[in-house]
Amino acid sequence: MSTIAVEAAAVSARGTAQAYRALRVRRYLSLAGTTVLSFAIVVWTLLPIYNMILVSLEPEGDVFTDHIWPRVASFESFRGVLTQGHWYLQHFWQQFANSIYMGAWVTFLTLAIGTLTAFSIGRMRIRHGWLVSNAALMTYVIPASFLAIPFYRIMQNYGLHNNLWSVIAALVAFATPYAFFVFQEYGRSIPIEVDESARIDGASPLQVYLRIYLPLMAPALVAVGTYAMLLAWNEYLYQFLLLSSKSSMTVPVALAQFLNSDQSPWNYMMATAIIYALPPVAIYYAFRRRMTAGLTMGGVKG
């Protein structure tokens, strides 16, 4: 009986019902597609990261087995790294401090030099400023690794080999152009009249820069600062070439030393890799919004 009633209703409104059904089917298909694709993306993204965690949690003997999840989760390798308990990690804290020291200086100098340049060209509109803009643009599109060999020779001639400052210099030289572009672009949103009225009130250019320009640029400073720090943290080649003694090298160089030996302590290496990855991941997620805004502001840079 009820089927008859339903059918009657269906006949009266067949057109709409069919349309609804088609819509529902499409919605289900779309949902199914999204689910499958989401699943694929999650697996694809997390595979190498899961491997990193898996190996770091295995006791030394278990690395050379065929487990796909940790049989016993052992934090031995993390303890080993943090207490410098393994022969290969004897200088871990020193090396970690070197990485932080280098990252902090690269960030600070990139911000300082980038804002000064952008202020002079974009706000004070110095004559022939475009020459400097072009120089920066050129630096931006030259791969840094292509200059590694001559840079190494030059640093040796200067006696700066095995000195963190040689790495800092290289990274600042390659990070500043991008910083400059972002600052130029962001500076356009601040009316030039702000500077002018401060000048009319008797402020010197240095005061305008420090008291007015820098505070107004704060969002861009955060974005570029994050970028510069991540750049320093990601870099390997220059650190590898220029830093050779155990106490002056940074974490990536120490980490890579045992990559190709047959007896690589993989669980300790992965634990080190995870600890090394924590600061940039934390900083990235903390400043994510600002960072994406900055990336899309002054061009693009990996």
């Binding site: 002079s120 020779r153 500043t176 980490l255 990559l259």
Partner: protein, 305 residues
């Protein structure tokens, strides 16, 4: 832009306009000019010492004709050139195309998409060295996670991926795609977000949805950005060292190098820095046109998203 400001200026007091035009002409007073110059000194100094000087030094090091003959005769160099070309062609294009598609996918709304994007971005946030050595060990033929997984789930005996030239190169390319697709997806996503809502809404009303909407509306608006991203990504990839060095180590038997790693190998493993510079310089016929086109594109268009 210029027209816009000059029209606006008509309504402003004359004094204001004079001040503004002084700024626009760049006519700074004596003291101000000194300040502006002083502000430029740090960057110019860094540029001259750490960019120009190495370039000049490098050109001088790699300017011996004899070295080029030696280089071209080296079979390792020849295979490196093939690898570099393949790495560029596949790495850049597959990655950018994936990023283009995925940026459309991430335009969907909802908490799940936001969460997914946060996970998806992880490869870019984790330092290169950490992930690449993880991939290197994951691909180990005997104890690597990938083969263990294949065996446990499907009872497939995996290969020794890094022991064969082509699969090692493939591993490098896939690693590069894994690492950098999130970043370019983010850029293209921002590009798509910048398309005014009226345009896409009007297009939808006119029946341009799905693929047609993409071909006729979205892609033409993204095309310039896509081109600039592709060119930039090409030049960054050409200078790539980390991916090859950590994932395949230039192996097996030095068959898997690209120009970036080969130059370093010549200079530091074989003690022939001049040959290393020569190897890098041999990429100049590709680099110089790219740099010129990019500089033009970036200067005129400004990647405004």
């Amino acid at each position: 832009m210029m027209n816009g400001t000059s029209v606006l200026d008509l309504g402003r007091p004359a004094v204001r306009r004079q001040v503004l035009s002084r700024y626009l002409r760049g006519g700074l007073k004596g003291g101000e000019y000194t300040w502006a110059l002083a502000f430029l000194v740090p960057y110019v100094a860094v540029f001259l010492t750490f960019v120009v000087y190495p370039i000049v030094y490098g050109v001088w090091m790699g300017s011996e004709g004899k070295l080029y003959r030696e280089l071209f005769a080296d079979p390792i160099y020849q295979s490196s050139v093939v690898n570099t070309v393949l790495y560029l062609a596949l790495g850049v294009n597959v990655k950018m195309f994936l990023a283009l598609l995925l940026s459309g996918f991430f335009m969907r709304r909802g908490w799940w998409m936001k969460t997914l994007l946060m996970i998806f971005i992880l490869p870019w946030a984790v330092p290169q060295i950490s992930t690449f050595i993880s991939i290197h060990w994951m691909l180990n033929g005997e104890w690597g996670f990938l083969n263990n997984l294949l065996y446990k789930l499907f009872h497939i005996e995996g290969a020794y991926y890094l022991n064969d030239r082509w699969s090692a190169l493939g591993a490098v390319i896939v690693s590069h795609i894994w690492k950098w697709t999130p970043f370019w997806t983010l850029i293209l996503l921002a590009g798509r977000m910048a398309i005014p809502l009226e345009i896409s809404d009007t297009a939808k009303v006119d029946g341009a949805t799905g693929l047609r909407g993409f071909v006729h509306i979205t892609f033409p608006l993204l095309a310039n950005l896509y081109l600039i991203c592709t060119l930039l990504s090409t030049i960054f990839l050409l200078g790539d060292f980390n991916t090859v060095y950590f994932v395949s180590g230039g192996g097996p038997a030095n068959q898997g190098h690209v120009l970036g790693t080969l130059g370093i190998r010549y200079a530091f493993d074989m003690g022939q820095p001049r040959l290393g510079v020569t190897a890098v310089m041999s990429a100049l016929p590709l680099v110089i046109p790219l740099v010129i086109v990019l500089m033009r594109k970036l200067r005129t268009a400004e990647v405004q998203l």
